[in-house]
Symmetry: C3
Subunit: 472 residues, 3 copies
C-alpha cells in the first residue's frame, strides 16, 4: 500500500482516531441493529432510505438521507435490503461506482437462486466493489449483545482493499472476520446460516432406526417372554436394563460402520485396479459422514458406561445380590471362588474400559482445535491405528461378555439369537476383511494403486475427469 493509495482511501487516518462514515441502505431491523452497533463503536452512520423522515426506530445519532445523498457521504455502503429490491439500486450505479458495497443478505432456502446474492449484486453494479459479510450474525444477536456463539463473520470479495476495510469494521464491532477468498465463496457463505447439522442427519436417523429395532427386539426377549412363560413382571427393565443393552450394541455397530466404507473402498480399488474412478455416490456420502458416525457411536458408548457403573446402586440389583447371599446363608453353604469366572468377568470389564478409553481419545482428537494441531501422518495414525485397536477391543469385549451363551442353544428364547450377537455381525465382517487386506499379496498392489499406479490405464481414459466432485 503506497502513501498515495492510503491518501485516496483515507482507510487508516494516522493523525486522528476518527472513524470513516459508513452508509447503510435500508432501515429494517438488521440495518438498524448494525447501525447502532457501529455508532457504539465510534463510526458515524448515515442511513439511506426512501422516506427521509427520521423514523423513531432509527438510532438518534444517525442521519437519514435519500439513497443517493447517503451514498455520497461514505466509502462503504451496507446493503441491508432483500435481494428482490436490488434492482432499485441500478439507477444509483453512477453514485455507487467505486464504492464498497457490503452484501449482508440471506436467503430462505439453501441454493434458492442460481447465483449468490452478492454475485447478483456485483453483476447489477459492475463498477462497485462488492464484499459479502455479516450474514452469519442476526439482528437479535447484535442487539442483545449475547454473542455467546460464533463471533466469526465470513468475508469474501474480489477486491482485497475493500475486503480489508470491511474486515476492520467487523473487528471494530467486536466480531472476528474470516477471509473466505473471492466472491465465488459467497454462495457457500449464504448457505451456511441455513444449515442445521447437515452432516449429522444420516448418522442420527440411522441410529434412531436401529435403536427402535433393538428396543422392540429386547423388549420381546427380556420383558414379554418372561411375562408370558414365567409370569414375571420385569417391565422396569425398560428404564435401565434394556437401554444398557441397546447402547453398547449401537456403539459397536456404528463404530464398525465407520470402518466399513474404508475396506469397501479398498476392495473396489483392488477390483478396478485404479484409484482414478469415482466411487459410487452412496459410498462417497458414507465416507464423508464417518466422523459424525463415530461421534454418535461414542455418545452411545458413554451412556453405556454410565448405565453400567450405576448397576450396583440399582435397587433391583441390590435386592438380587442380597437374596442370593441370604439364600446361601440359610442353606449354610459358601461357594468357593470360581477362578475361571473371575478371569472372564475381569477380562470382559478390562477390555471394555480400554476400548472406551481409546474411543474417548479418538473423540478428543476429532475436536477441531486438536485436529488442526496434528499433521496428516499423526491424524492417520490416530484414526487408523487407534481406531482399529478400539474396534478390536470393543469386539473382544462383546465376545468375552457373551462367551458362554454362544453355544448354549437352550438360552435362545423363541429360537432368536441374543441381541448382542446381532451386534457382532458388522464388526466381525470389517475385522475379517481388514485382516485379509493386510496380507502382502493384497496390501502391495493396493498401496501402488493409491500412489497412482494403474493396472489398466486405457480404461480410465474415459472416466478420469469425473472423479469425486463431492470432496469440498
Amino acid at each position: 500500500m503506497t502513501k498515495n493509495s492510503s491518501n485516496i482511501m483515507a482507510l487508516s487516518p494516522n493523525t486522528s482516531n476518527k472513524r470513516e462514515t459508513v452508509c447503510i441502505f435500508g432501515t429494517g431491523d438488521f440495518g438498524r441493529a448494525l447501525g447502532l452497533k457501529m455508532i457504539q463503536s465510534g463510526y458515524p452512520v448515515v442511513f439511506g432510505s426512501r422516506s427521509t423522515q427520521t423514523s423513531s426506530l432509527i438510532p438518534k445519532d444517525a442521519e437519514v438521507l435519500s439513497h443517493a445523498e447517503a451514498a455520497q457521504k461514505a466509502a462503504i455502503i451496507i446493503i441491508a435490503l432483500q435481494r428482490q429490491h436490488y434492482n432499485f439500486l441500478i439507477p444509483l450505479a453512477e453514485v455507487l461506482h467505486g464504492k464498497v458495497l457490503v452484501d449482508v443478505s440471506n436467503n430462505l432456502k439453501i441454493n434458492q437462486y442460481p447465483e449468490s446474492n452478492a454475485e447478483y449484486l456485483s453483476q447489477l453494479l459492475p463498477g462497485a466493489r462488492v464484499v459479502k459479510a455479516f450474514n452469519t450474525v442476526s439482528a437479535w444477536a447484535l442487539q442483545s449483545g449475547t454473542l455467546d456463539a460464533s463471533r466469526q463473520v465470513f468475508v469474501c470479495g474480489d477486491d482485497m482493499e475493500a475486503k480489508q476495510m470491511v474486515m476492520d469494521i467487523v473487528r471494530a464491532v467486536g466480531l472476528t472476520p474470516l477471509d473466505k477468498g473471492s466472491l465465488l465463496a459467497a454462495q457457500e457463505i449464504e448457505n451456511y446460516p441455513l444449515q442445521l447439522f447437515p452432516m449429522w442427519k444420516f448418522p442420527i436417523f440411522l441410529s434412531l432406526g436401529l435403536t427402535a429395532f433393538f428396543f422392540f427386539y429386547c423388549l420381546a426377549l427380556d420383558v414379554i417372554y418372561p411375562y408370558v412363560y414365567q409370569n414375571k413382571d420385569f417391565s422396569f427393565f425398560i428404564v435401565i436394563s434394556i437401554p444398557n443393552r441397546i447402547c453398547p450394541i449401537l456403539a459397536l455397530i456404528l463404530l464398525a460402520l465407520v470402518y466399513l466404507p474404508g475396506v469397501l473402498a479398498a476392495i473396489i480399488q483392488l477390483y478396478r485396479g485404479t484409484k482414478y474412478r469415482r466411487f459410487p455416490d452412496w459410498l462417497d456420502k458414507w465416507m464423508l459422514c464417518r466422523k459424525q458416525l463415530g461421534l454418535v457411536a461414542l455418545a452411545f458408548a458413554s451412556v453405556h458406561v454410565l448405565y453400567t457403573l450405576v448397576i450396583p446402586i440399582r435397587s433391583y440389583v441390590r435386592w438380587r445380590i442380597s437374596s442370593h447371599t441370604i439364600s446361601q446363608a440359610l442353606n449354610n453353604k459358601t461357594e468357593p471362588l470360581n477362578t475361571t469366572n473371575a478371569w472372564l468377568s475381569d477380562s470382559y470389564v478390562a477390555l471394555g474400559i480400554l476400548g472406551f478409553f481409546f474411543f474417548f481419545l479418538l473423540g478428543i482428537t476429532s475436536l477441531p482445535s486438536v485436529s488442526n494441531n496434528v499433521n496428516w501422518r499423526e491424524f492417520r495414525f490416530v484414526q487408523s491405528k487407534l481406531g482399529y485397536l478400539t474396534l478390536i477391543l470393543c469386539t473382544a469385549h462383546t465376545l468375552v461378555y457373551g462367551g458362554k451363551w454362544f453355544l448354549n442353544l437352550s438360552l435362545y428364547k423363541w429360537y432368536l439369537p441374543h441381541a448382542y450377537m446381532l451386534s457382532l455381525i458388522v464388526p466381525c465382517i470389517v475385522l475379517v476383511i481388514k485382516f485379509v487386506l493386510i496380507f502382502p499379496c493384497l496390501d502391495k498392489p493396493l498401496t501402488q494403486i493409491r500412489q497412482g499406479w494403474e493396472r489398466n490405464p486405457k480404461y480410465s481414459e474415459q472416466s478420469n475427469y469425473i472423479i469425486n466432485k463431492s470432496a469440498v
Copy 2:
C-alpha cells in the same frame, strides 16, 4: 502493494534472506528478552540507550547506540519503555518520522489512563506509525521458551503496512499474530493481560455462597440432628454424603439460573411491547455470564456423578448393606422384589444419566473451537432446545428422587424442608414460565417484538439510542 512501495520499505527482500534490522529502545528485562529472541530468529538488533556503554546484560550480537543513532539504523523501533518515559521521545520526533513504532507496554491497573499507551504514543509523535503488539507475552515466557500458553500476540495499528511488518516479526519469533484492527483496539489489548477470569467472578462467588449455605443447612439436618436426638455420630457425612447433596442442588439451581434471565427478558419485552429499550443493568450482566454459570453448574454435576458412582465402594455403605442382609438372614426372612421400588429407583437413575449426558453435550459445544464451527441456527438449537431438555430431565431426576418424601411431614426434621426441595424452587419457576410463554397467544407477539415490531412506537423515541452498550 506496488513494486514501488516494496522498494522503499524493502519489507520482503526477494533475492536474499537477510532480515531487516530492528531497533529496540530500552535495555530493561523485556527489551533484552525480545532482542535476544529476535537475534536467534535472524534479525540484526540494535539497542537505543541513554548510556551507550555495552552492558553485560545485553546480548553480545547486539549493538548499543544512542537513541537517535539506533533509530536511524532501522525501519522498526520497539519502544520497550514505561509510559512515564514516553515524553523523552519527543525530541526524537524528526528521526522517528515515518518509522514503525511498536508499543509493547502494559499498565498496572485496568483502564489506568484515559487513553491507551499506544494512542498516547501516537499523539506524542504524530509522524510515526504506531503499532501495538507483544504486550501479551512476558519476558519470562520469551526467555524460558516454555510458551505452553497462548502464543497469540494481539496486533493493532492504523497503518496496514506497518502492521504487516510487525506481524512478520511476531511470526518469525515463533508466535501467532492476531490482527485486532485499528489503534482504537489498543485499550482493550492493554487491559487483556491484566484480567483474571473477569466473567467467572460472579458465578464462582455465587456458588461459593450457596455452597456455604447448603453445607450448614445439611450439617444441621444430617449430622447435628441425629447427634442431638439419636446420639449417633455421623460426622463422617461431611466428607462424602453432604458434598454429594450440595453438588446436585447447586448444579440444578445454577442450571436454572442460566435460563431464568431469558424468560425474565421475554416478560419485560412483552410488558414493554418493544425490544428497543435497554434491559436493567443487572439483567444485562446476568445474561452475559450465562455460559460461565452453566459451566460451573456442569462442574458441580460432574462431581455429583463421581460422588454417586463411588457409593458402593464406601466402607459405610458396605457396612449398612451387609448389616441389612445379615439381619434378614438371621430373621430367616427374604423380601420379595418390590417392583414399584425398582421402577422408581431405575427411573431416577436413568433420568439423572440422560440429564448429565445432555448437560455434557452442552458443555462440549461451549468449547471455543466447537462453537466456532456451528452457525447461529445450530447454536441456538443446541443451547435452547437441548438446554431446556437438560433442565427438564434434571428437575425430573430430583422430583423422582424425593417423590415419597414430599408429603410425609414426619420426615421433616425441625419442621425444615429437606435441602433438595429448596433446590427445586428456581427450576420449577423457570419451567412454568417457559411453559406459559410457548402458548401461541404469548409466543406470537413475542416473536414479532423480537423481529422489530413495536406496540407503542412513540415511546421508544427517547430511549432507543441507549440500548445495551455492554455488548462488546
Copy 3:
C-alpha cells in the same frame, strides 16, 4: 494495493468471475490430484511436461504443453517436482522471471538438506517469487475428498502479493491457508508433515518403562508371593487389580515430574543468582514436554477412575463381600459401624475425586482452543495454583489410602515396600522443595532474579548470548 498494481496482476477481476489460469509443472500423482481439484474449483489448468502427449491420467479439461509454453500462460506455477529435478528449471529462468512459483515438495527425512527446498528453489531462480504451500496435504486426501483432518495449509514466502494469490487458491479448493511469514519458515513447514508426535515420545517411553517396572513389581508381590507362600491362585489380578495399582502410581509420579523441573530451575537460578544463563540441556527438554507429561498422567488417572468404579461389578469382589457377609451371618454376629474406618475410607475417596476433578480441569485448559482464550496471568494461575492443588490432593489421597500400612512391617512381603510407597517419593520431594521455596527469604530473591536482577553481573558476560536456543 493501488488500482495500478491490480491491473498488472489481474489478481481479482472485478467484472467477471473467471479464475486465473494456473500452471502445474510435473504430471505425477500430486500434480494431477491438485490440478483436478483446481479444475473443479473453476481454475483453468495447464500442465507443463517433458512429453507433451496428453497422458490418459491427466484430467481431460487440462492442457498439456512444454514447460516453457505452459509457464507463459500463467502467473502462478506449481512446481510439483522432486527437489532433485529443480535444476532442470534453470534454463527456464527467463520465462519464470517474476512468476509466482509454488513449492509443494516434501522430503523423506527431517532436516534432510541444509536449506529448505523452497529456499533452494529461490536461490536457483532469484527472479521468481517463491511461495511454499500445499506440502501438508496429500494427493490421497485431495482425491478422496475426506479432509477430516486438518484443512490447514501453511503458506510462507517473501513476497506478500504472491502469498496472497496462493492463499486465494488454497481457499478456493476448500482448505484454510495459514500465513507463516517469510520464506525462512519453509524449513519448519517442510519438517512438519514428517513428524509423528515428537513431543510425546519421551513421556510415552518413560511411562512404558515405568509401567513395565511396576507391573513386575506388583506381579511378584500380589500374585507370585501368595502363590508361593499361601498356594492361592490370584492370576486374574493381572487383568484389573494390578493395572488399577499401576495406573494411579504412574499418574502420581508423572504429575510430580511435571512440577519437578520447575523447582529444579528455581534452585539453579537461586544458586547461580541470575536467570541469564542457559539451563542444562536435559532440563530444557524436560520443561518443554511438561504438557505432554501431564496429559499422559491424566490418561492414567482416568483409567484408574474407571477401574476403580467397576470394582463392585467384578465377580471376585462380589464373591468376597458375599462370603464375608455369609460368614458373619453363620457366626451370628454383626459388626458395629467403625466410625474411624468410615472417616478414612470416605476421606480417601473424596480426596481422589477432588484431585481427579482439578486434574481434569487442568486437562481441559490445555486444549488449544481453550488455552488460546486465556491470557498469561490466567494460564499461570491455572497451571501453577490449580496444578499444585491437584498434586497435593492426589498425594494426600495416596497417603490416606495407605495410612495404616505404613508402620506395619509385618505387611511388607519379602521386606519390599508396597508399590504405592514408591509412588510417593517424587511427589513428596516436589512438595517439600516447593514448600521451602515459598518462604520469603527464598521467594524474594527468586522473584528479583526472574525480573532480571543479577547477583553477580560480571560472570554472565561470557555466557549470556547462549541462553536457551531451543525455545522456538
